[in-house]
């Protein structure tokens, strides 16, 4: 984790190069999504990605996490080529929060057991006692950061928590151990407005405090504009807007909706 970004190798911290991906090849449903797609992300950069349905946002995340294979091209995270690894091998250095709050935690295990498992990520899962009593105070202090009162419910099964609470817990869990890249897959989409604001604020805090390189896909234009250092808008497997720093702060939601409409007209929607 001490490897320097960019300068040494001339490659960004997260890099997707010359990606080709066709779904259902050689059939009537053939969809050529990416042909020569490229995306570079600097270390500690917080990128939000927006785009219409089928534009390829989620596919980018799935490729980075190894859930789907690419036809050709190269994907590297922290200067490590990852496109040939298995999905669970990607997870060793990538944290992911899903849209579905039930995916990021184990409903039948207690909060404590969930945290103990997450805390052990990267270490071996042998026959040592699963929940280390000495670390309970540490887990409690971590849960206090969420400000949801979960620190008093350590022995409650996660199934009994609300979607917002579970998603906050999933966010905490996926960033508890050191990771190279945090992937947020529309992680506020299934929550009510109040909970999604809360989870988004937590996200911002964790990303900044832990200096995480982050890729967030969202349908919420407000979040995309207000949070993150860089905004990428996708359409038909290509990047149509890529605004960083000053350029991004000048962006308003209206510009984005205009752009959305412009694209929609082009494709005749």
């Amino acid at each position: 984790m001490s490897i320097q970004p960019k300068s040494e190798t001339g490659e960004s911290f997260v890099s997707m190069k010359h990606i080709y991906k066709t779904f259902n090849p050689a059939s009537v449903n053939e969809v050529v999504l990416f042909s020569d797609f490229n995306l570079e992300i600097e270390k500690e950069q917080f990128v939000s990605v927006i785009g219409s349905n089928g534009s390829g946002k989620t596919t980018i995340l799935n490729i980075l996490c190894g859930s789907i294979a690419i036809d050709s091209g190269s994907v590297s995270v922290n200067h490590r080529e990852i496109s040939r690894l298995k999905e669970y091998q990607h997870s060793k250095f990538i944290g992911r929060v899903f849209q579905d709050p039930s995916k990021g935690t184990c409903p039948e295990l207690t909060i404590l057991e969930n945290m103990a498992l997450a805390d052990n990520k990267g270490a071996s899962f042998g026959l040592q006692l699963g929940v280390n009593k000495k670390k309970i105070d540490f887990y409690r202090s971590q849960l206090e950061l969420l400000k949801l009162g979960l620190e008093d419910k350590l022995n409650l099964p996660v199934a009994s928590l609300s979607g917002g609470q579970r998603q906050a817990l999933a966010l905490l869990i996926s960033t508890m151990t050191p990771i190279d890249l945090l992937i947020l897959d529309e992680h506020t989409a299934a929550l009510d407005p109040r909970s999604s604001e809360n989870v988004m604020e937590l996200t911002e805090r964790f990303v900044r405090e832990k200096k995480l390189t982050t890729l967030m896909v969202t349908h919420n234009l407000k979040f995309a504009v207000n949070y993150g250092d860089r905004l990428v808008m996708m359409h038909h497997g290509g990047i149509v807007v890529d605004a960083a720093e000053k350029q991004k702060s000048a962006l308003a939601i209206k510009d984005l909706t205009d752009k959305f409409n412009e694209i929609s007209v082009e494709v005749g929607n």
Binding site: K86, K103, C106, E108, L117, A118, Q128, G130, R166
Partner: protein
Amino acid sequence: MDIILGLVVNVLEEGFIYGIMAIGVYITYRVLGFPDLSVDGTFPLGACVTAALITVGIDPWLACLIAFVCGAAAGCLTGFLHVKLGITDLLSGILVMTGLWSVNLVITKGSAVMPFYDKSTIFNSGFSGALASVLPENYRVVVIVAVSCIIVKLLLDSYLKTKSGLLLRASGDNAQYVTSLGRNPGAMKIIGLAIGNGCTALAGSILSQQTESASVASGTGMVVMALASVIIGTNLFRKFRFMKATTAAVIGAIIYKACLVIAMQLGLPTNYLKLLMAVIFTVALISNNMFMGRGKKQNVNPTQI
């Protein structure tokens, strides 16, 4: 009175033996959510391996251990077929179960029943030999099977509390979560199946030592019996938070055995035994669905409300 006491002893003897199998099937069915049919083959596997080993004079406790290992290996094979080769869970169980039939016949050198009368078993040698002076034989058997069953239960309870055990529970609950932890959920499935089938073979081994013979056909209906025990036990004691699910599975096995014995005592012909087993299992499943009907709704994915 003596007759009733005799029946109770009989129920407890078999209940604890099948309880060991129920604990194993609890791991595969409830923890992993894997309907494992290979149990029908691993139960007689344990019995046949034990018969063959005891006949050549191996220590009976060691024979139990080897039976467990053989069962675990068969479980690994089921897991391998399912996880690595992508065969559905039901089919991989059926394949292993079918294949084991021949394996068991090879172990018994071709005979369907392999008796080993007057050899040393866990019930008449070593520790239990010492018990012989204190307890009459039928009580001795109950004590030994109860102790074995409780040891297996305690071992599994403590395993489920380890890191590996937590990961096993997680992989049945939410495989994606295990993947997110950088672990292969398939590997955990194989471990769970190994434990489940190991326990089943151990139960087969102990039963064969109690009857001093191993039968290749003894596995028929074991899946039904084990699943019924697990479902009866976990449903009846759902409200008892303090009770471990493994304990509930053992008690389920005892209740199940008691139902069969009562039916036999009421004059049900032996030929109807398997039919009765199927009926009890059906009733258990239906009541399971009725119990779960309300409980499940609380776990609905919030995105779908």
